[in-house]
Symmetry: C2
């Protein structure tokens, strides 16, 4: 499933307008623009797209009502990536050099802060009101809480429920909020909004599980990220949790991943052990389950073109290679 074809309901011209607005939103300050434009021109734009789709649950919603918030969602996501890359010390993101690698940690902190602030400015200046701003600020808080949880448990093996709590805070609540905001802007009733939010949350769990899987089984050229990056930075994810349950070499695996400094050959060895288990199928199975759960929360929209697009996104999320 091609992501762009999953998005046929968000017409190509809307994605183009979104791109232009994102670019325009950082054009006030030359340094910010130069630092962020390459990063902001890439990415899947999954978060604003989910929002845009859900905003059309009752039919066309004027771009003036949707585009500023869609832009804000992309800025918030990008801000969090910029801050993420400080820890990871990642060299590349979305296929381009990270801001951290180019300008160092302090500029990365400030650029991320700027993008967060710009997002809240867009929301304030386009009269979205307090409910929308509250959803946004809470999703950022949850994102931080999830990242802190992750950072404080590096190089340790989380329980399944700790893993789920983390990916919920980090990813699922964000996608859920995008759908919720779409429902709010569309003027849906509370039950319908909650349905969309539940869809987004389940989609988010699946999305993060697949993301964690791609760290082991992805193609670096397609993902734009280096294989084993999570392992290297000490983030223990579902494929490892599964491999530790079933591999004959689980003792070796546990020993490697809890070393504080993994060499390239440690990482290769760990990936090899994980690959020799059913971790991939196991993770896919779980992701499929969350996608099924996402789908059943869309009844009120069924047969509409928005529902179809949301289902196609669900298909993309589990089958994606990037």
């Amino acid at each position: 499933m091609d992501f762009v074809s999953a998005l046929k309901d968000v017409a190509i011209k809307d994605l183009q307008e979104l791109g232009e607005r994102v670019e325009q939103s950082i054009s006030e300050d030359k340094f910010i623009y130069d630092a962020c434009a390459p990063l902001l021109s890439g990415g899947k734009r999954l978060r604003p797209v989910l929002f845009l789709l859900c905003s059309r649950s009752k039919g066309i919603c004027p771009n003036e009502k949707t585009m500023p918030l869609a832009t804000a969602l992309e800025l918030i996501h990008t801000a969090s990536l910029v801050h993420d890359d400080i820890l990871d010390n990642a060299k590349k993101r979305r296929g381009v050099e990270t801001i951290n690698s180019r300008y160092g940690a302090q500029i990365s902190v400030l650029v991320g802060d700027y993008l967060f602030a710009k997002a809240f400015q867009l929301v304030a200046e386009n009269d979205y009101g307090n409910e929308v701003a509250a959803v946004l600020s809470k999703l950022v808080k949850n994102l931080c809480t999830g990242e802190i949880m992750q950072d404080r448990s590096l190089f340790t093996v989380p329980t399944m429920s700790e893993y789920y709590e983390r990916i919920n805070l980090k990813t699922a609540i964000f996608l859920s909020s995008c759908c919720r905001l779409g429902g709010i802007v569309a003027g849906l009733n509370q039950k319908e909004i909650d349905g969309l939010a539940f869809y987004g949350g389940s989609l988010g769990l699946a999305f993060q599980i697949v993301d964690d899987l791609l760290d082991f089984f992805g193609d670096e050229k397609i993902t734009g990220k280096i294989l084993g990056g999570d392992l290297k930075s000490g983030v223990v994810t579902l494929p490892v949790i599964r491999a530790l349950q079933v591999s004959e070499k689980s003792k070796i695996l546990r020993e490697i991943i809890t070393r504080k400094k993994l060499t390239d050959s440690d990482i290769s060895a760990a990936i090899e052990i994980v690959k020799n288990t059913d971790a991939m199928e196991y993770c896919k199975m779980r992701a499929d389950g969350h996608i099924d759960s996402a789908r059943i929360n869309l009844p009120f929209l069924i047969k509409t073109s928005v529902a179809l697009a949301l289902e196609q996104i669900a298909d993309f999320v589990v089958d994606r290679s990037w």
Copy 2:
């Protein structure tokens, strides 16, 4: 001039309530609370106090209308300090160990992000509306732009206008915004609000100049900061700019401050050269000028108790030792 007596119009019980609300605002998450509570219990609370005073321009303003925003202002300021301390690698802030020193850079990034988000949540959930949120988001953006400007010119000597642009973005706009927000909440007319904002902006310039002075002439036990910290991190401020203009040893001074790695004896030597010029008087003279300018922008409030308190704060800002 004692700061607390300058604040007699913000009754002691209000400062106490502010302290309780600040503490309460970070109590949702145990880790955030443990990390931030020591830092948030200190500080002058100048920003929320300016806001609270200005909110009373027309008389008493109910605490329910003021306290959440006062709390948000203190959280934003603290978030920026937490992010600042990552670069500075400062060991102490407000007399306690910095979050960076205790938990490292990544946690500092995330804790700062959390505090920013919490501030915007307080504003959203207490129905301050879009104008207030726009002022807040723009002040954060300006703060970042000022810090980026500073970070990109470390170990170089700014022109006077570059120095002023930086302290305006970093500090003056923040204090100006606090006063502006007070005026908005008080329901003043636009001209009155602009007057308060101008007062705050001029006060902010003076405040930052005195802050920069304290890095050379302060008492570490009183400021809670280590002397020469700006020099060490490469931030060249007004006392140095002045000393370079008038000192016989300006060549040596310039050579020292543009070294990328200053030793403790470099710092002592630089402080000594600055102390042997009129830099202190020069900076005080400039700060006094901005304070006079701040005062003349308060005509509409004159004779009210708020105006008196704002004037006392102005006195404090130039005479302070912390």
